[in-house]
């Protein structure tokens, strides 16, 4: 099929355009159109995975349209092995995300419209082969989040704490609008850094083209690289939740509605990590090697600090949100190893964490809708009234702590192995400790919420998942196990791309 990648990117956008003309009162058509857009994109991604020649590797299924020829900006699409894995992830998450938000009643039309626009941008980032278009899609993926959280999010009380406690009230900390603004501004500061780095590289490459292939062939001077790489790392890294620029993530994810949390933690944070690796490290190989100690060191902090923060939370959504910070640390750690194993693990972790955290947020949304509380201290014994939810939650927990047989294990194992092989083998030690802390907090949360004596009072009549709510747990849960037992299906794609990209860096590290 020709222009397959373009169709994947366009399908959600077209669905969004159809929504625009539907009346807001057409409840079912709105949802069906959204679902069709999502399913078409997902099916396209599966088709890409099936037709991609994993032996040949490299960029496949190219498309090219001139956008602003005078500046060398082209809408150039193609997919590599990493892209295949992340397209699959995005496809699965958006379909389950739409189904999980079937019950959104408040301004439903606008909600689905923004969700589809956002996911269109995500697909676009993974297949762009022009740095500029990459950035465009990146922005599209980031910005709808402001409205999605600000309008449909949930506010909650955050107790005053820390040296800035006096400003809590002024900025309405804990409010959804606070979370939305914080997220948008922090990510936009990151974008500004990316933009500057983009100019730097574009100018030195002759100022004629943003084509990634062209930029890859350019040998940038060490000075340029040493400036551009940190900017790209901070810019994209903000979205990947790199410490200390992760603070938008817990607030944002905790305030966001279910599907948005799923997409944001599941897919969007991967855009950041993907950007650091695909743009930062591949275009600035010398600097990537120079700065590896910092990237990896901060990633280790991410793993440990995120896990410790998660362990001290009392709000269920904050636990999951901080666990994302910790798990994204593993991705960045894998990237910093600059070894094939580590990179394979990093991309596999993007996929595994995307599926797992999507499952987590879907289930948390289910629990919250029924129990109307996210404070785990108030919960207990929910396994008796919602056995399926309890079962899937446990599965997600097990993947989170890296139990063999789940996708999380494959990813974490590869990253730890890569870290041990790499230049700074000590990274593996704190990273493994982080995995142990993860086991502590996920199992404790799981135990407190779902096990123990049957709930009484207001929680006695909670129900299990219903109709469309089944989609997310079943699909994502199955994916966790499938890719835990059969990692090769994805690793073949990932490995061929990692080899190609790493060949550029290897001489320097």
């Amino acid at each position: 099929m020709s222009h397959l990648l373009a169709w994947i990117v366009a399908a959600p956008a077209i669905a969004a355009a159809v929504l625009l003309v539907l009346p807001a009162s057409a409840r079912l058509p709105i949802r069906v159109v959204s679902l069709i857009g999502a399913v078409v994109a997902c099916a396209g991604s599966v088709l890409v995975a099936l037709t991609y020649d994993r032996v040949a590797g490299g960029m496949q299924m190219p498309d090219d349209w001139a956008l602003v020829p005078s500046l060398g900006i082209h809408l150039k699409l193609a997919v590599d092995g990493w892209g295949v894995a992340l397209l699959l992830l995005t496809g699965v998450i958006i379909v389950t995300g739409v189904l999980a938000s079937w019950g959104v009643e408040k301004r439903g039309k606008e909600f689905f419209l923004l969700l589809l626009v956002l996911v269109s941008g995500v697909f676009g980032v993974f297949v762009s082969q022009d740095l500029f278009v990459f950035f465009l899609f990146y922005e599209i993926a980031v910005l709808p989040m402001y409205l999605l959280i600000g309008i449909w999010g949930a506010s909650h009380d955050v107790p005053k704490r820390g040296p800035f406690g006096f400003a809590w009230k002024r900025f309405a900390v804990g409010g959804k609008e606070y979370a939305a603004m914080k997220l948008t501004l922090m990510l936009l500061v990151g974008s500004a850094a990316i933009l500057v780095a983009m100019f730097l590289l574009w100018k030195e490459a002759g100022g004629t083209s943003f084509d990634l292939a062209h930029l890859e062939q350019t040998k940038f001077s060490l000075a340029t690289q040493n400036w551009a790489f940190p900017l790209l790392w901070l810019g994209f890294g903000t979205l990947a939740g790199v410490f200390p620029f992760h603070t938008w993530s817990p607030d944002g994810h905790a305030s966001a509605p279910t599907a948005v949390s799923m997409l944001h933690a599941g897919v969007l944070m991967k855009l950041g990590a993907f950007g650091v690796m695909r743009v930062g490290m591949v275009l600035c190989p010398d600097a990537a090697a120079n700065w590896a100690w910092l990237v990896g060191g901060v990633a280790v902090i991410n793993v440990l600090y995120g896990a410790l923060c998660a362990a001290s939370q009392t709000d269920l959504k904050y636990i999951i949100a901080y666990s994302s910070v910790s798990h994204m640390g593993i991705v960045m750690l894998g990237a910093a190893t600059l070894t094939t194993t580590g990179w394979n693990g990093a991309v596999y972790q993007m996929f595994a964490h995307g599926i797992m955290t999507g499952l987590f947020f879907a289930l948390v949304g289910l629990v919250y809708e029924r129990a109307h509380t996210r404070a785990i201290a108030k919960m207990g014994g929910f396994g008796h009234v919602m056995p399926a939810v309890a079962c899937f939650f446990t599965l997600a927990c097990l993947s989170s702590l890296g139990l063999p047989g789940t996708a999380g294990f494959v990813a974490e194992f590869l990253v730890f192995l890569g870290a041990a092989e790499g230049a700074h083998s000590w990274w593996a030690v704190p990273a493994v400790i982080g995995a142990v802390v993860t086991a502590v907090y996920v199992l404790r949360a799981c135990k407190t919420i779902f096990w123990g004596p049957p709930p009484t009072g207001e929680f006695a009549h909670l129900t299990d998942a219903r109709s469309t709510e089944w989609a997310a747990p079943i699909v994502l849960g199955a994916a966790l196990i499938l890719f835990g037992f059969w990692p090769r299906f994805l690793l073949d794609f990932i490995d061929v791309a990692s080899h190609t990209f790493l060949a550029r860096i290897a001489p320097f590290s």
Partner: protein, 484 residues
């Protein structure tokens, strides 16, 4: 003679429409919306004619040159004029039904001044055109002095007076500077400064003083820091449909004049004016963006945002390259549609909500999703977010400035763009997330609605497909700066 008519055909047509409107009102006064519609349609005819009439050429002694640069600006001003008229029709018919024609006539006179201005290559013609453009604006500014929602103080007279006083003062400043420049160089032609000294020596001190006075005078007109004090007050007080026009067309004309003078005439003496221009551009970006932060009145906020936007446009002029000038044009063109749109939506919301404060327009998107969505698109365009026109504008400006070596200002501008996003989003927050005290849909007159839709079309269309305008701007800029 026939060549003369061709050269000024479009300007003559605009003046003729103004005369027609005045006469018609004198002999057959109407209170309906016919006057406005006829003005808009005739202006549309002139705009269409600009694609068929080839009036390129020059007046004797080169005082007026008509080339791609002028055509670009004429079309831009005509488009702004048409939209400005469309946006005012409903408001005028409702508020001052018996005094409609003079409003349109004044607007048209101002328009004619702007159109001539773009082609002026002689100081005397330039100053006269500038005054022709400015005088009617002073009147229009105070046009609705008894108007406005009951909840707001009537500030129109103050707005008009402020614009008039600063405008007159800045004209005086420009004229004083020109007296020095023309006196020292001995020619009224806008061209290189003849030093008279040995080769390579700069302009005489007195000429430098004159040049800086001229720059300051234009700084007032475009509302750049430190000559910006009138902007927020005037925006807040004048009738909103007029502010929409005031905030774009005269600014575009002022920037065009700056380009003619600085890049066309004084390019060899850039060591004199470039430092001043860079300081003005940087200060405008900083002051505009930061002073917009605490504003609670949407019009004041947009006033400061306009100051910041002018800073970006001046940055593009400071590149002194053809590409940079082309991107100034692109920037200004997108700014015209965006800012017109933003003020029109604001006008529609304020007429129903009873005021222009952020609290008064709260909940707009719930009352009228289309208006709310349009406002969001315009705000994002002002903030420079991808896939709306303003993004390309900011980006192109930054790229050209980067190429010209103005790295510090580019980094400053990129950082301030994030500050900008904050206050644009506070407007979006109040329309999308806050609850207003009303829930009925906002009624928009047909003309105003049409104007908003046209602006929306251009902002989104240029965001998706900027190529045609980029090419037109490059072509136009070649008339002022040759080379790259």
């Amino acid at each position: 003679m026939s060549q003369w008519i061709q050269l000024f055909a479009l300007e003559f047509a605009v003046v003729a429409i103004a005369a027609l409107v005045l006469l018609w009102d004198a002999f057959a006064p109407r209170t309906g919306r016919a006057v406005g519609w006829i003005t808009a349609l005739l202006l549309g005819g002139v705009l269409a004619a600009s694609f068929f009439v080839d009036g390129s050429g020059a007046a004797p002694h080169g005082v007026f040159v008509r080339d791609a640069w002028v055509v670009f600006h004429e079309r831009l001003f005509l488009a702004a004029g048409i939209l400005g008229v469309l946006g005012s029709i409903d408001w005028l018919a409702m508020r001052t039904p018996k005094r409609q024609a003079e409003y349109y006539a004044l607007l048209l006179f101002s328009l004619a001044g702007m159109m001539l201005l773009a082609g002026a290559r002689d100081w005397i013609l330039l100053v006269v055109c500038f005054e022709l453009m400015s005088m009617p604006l002073y009147v229009l500014c105070a046009y609705g002095k008894q108007d406005g929602p009951a909840s707001e103080p009537k500030l129109a007279a103050e707005a008009g007076l402020k614009l008039f006083v600063t405008g007159a003062a800045s004209s005086g400043l420009t004229l004083f500077g020109l007296a020095l420049v023309v006196g020292m160089t001995g020619t009224s032609h806008i061209g290189p400064i003849v030093t008279g000294g040995p080769v390579g020596s700069g302009p005489a001190p007195l000429t430098i003083v004159g040049m800086l006075f001229v720059l300051a005078g234009f700084g007032f007109k475009v509302g750049a820091v430190p000559f910006h004090m009138w902007v927020p007050d005037t925006y807040q007080g004048a009738p909103t449909p007029f502010v929409a026009f005031l905030s774009v067309a005269p600014k575009a004309a002022g920037l065009a004049t700056l380009a003619i003078v600085l890049l066309g005439g004084w390019s060899a003496s850039s060591s004199v004016w470039l430092p001043a221009l860079l300081v003005i551009a940087g200060a405008s970006m900083v002051v505009g963006n930061f002073f917009a932060l605490p504003q609670t009145d949407a019009r004041r906020l947009l006033g400061y945002s306009g100051i910041a936007q002018i800073g970006y446009a001046l940055l593009a002029i400071a590149t002194q390259s053809r590409g940079g000038l082309a991107m100034t044009l692109f920037f200004v063109a997108t700014y015209v549609f965006t800012n017109l749109g933003v003020f029109f939506v604001l006008h529609a919301a304020a007429e129903e909500g009873g005021g222009h404060t952020l609290a008064r327009i709260a909940g707009l998107s719930k009352r009228s999703p289309w208006l709310g969505g349009a406002l969001l698109v315009f705000l994002l365009s002002l903030a420079g977010i991808p896939f709306v026109a303003g993004f390309w504008a900011k980006l192109f400006v930054f790229m050209e400035a980067w190429n010209a070596g103005l790295v510090t200002l580019v980094v400053l501008g990129v950082a301030l763009a994030v500050v900008g996003l904050y206050y644009y989003l506070t407007v979006a927050r109040s329309t999308y997330m806050a609850d207003g005290d009303r829930s009925t849909p906002v009624r928009t007159g047909f003309a105003l609605g049409a104007a908003i839709v046209v602006c929306l079309f251009f902002v989104v269309g240029l965001g998706l497909w900027p190529k045609p305008l980029v090419e037109a701007a490059n072509h136009a800029a070649a008339g002022i700066v040759s080379g790259r």
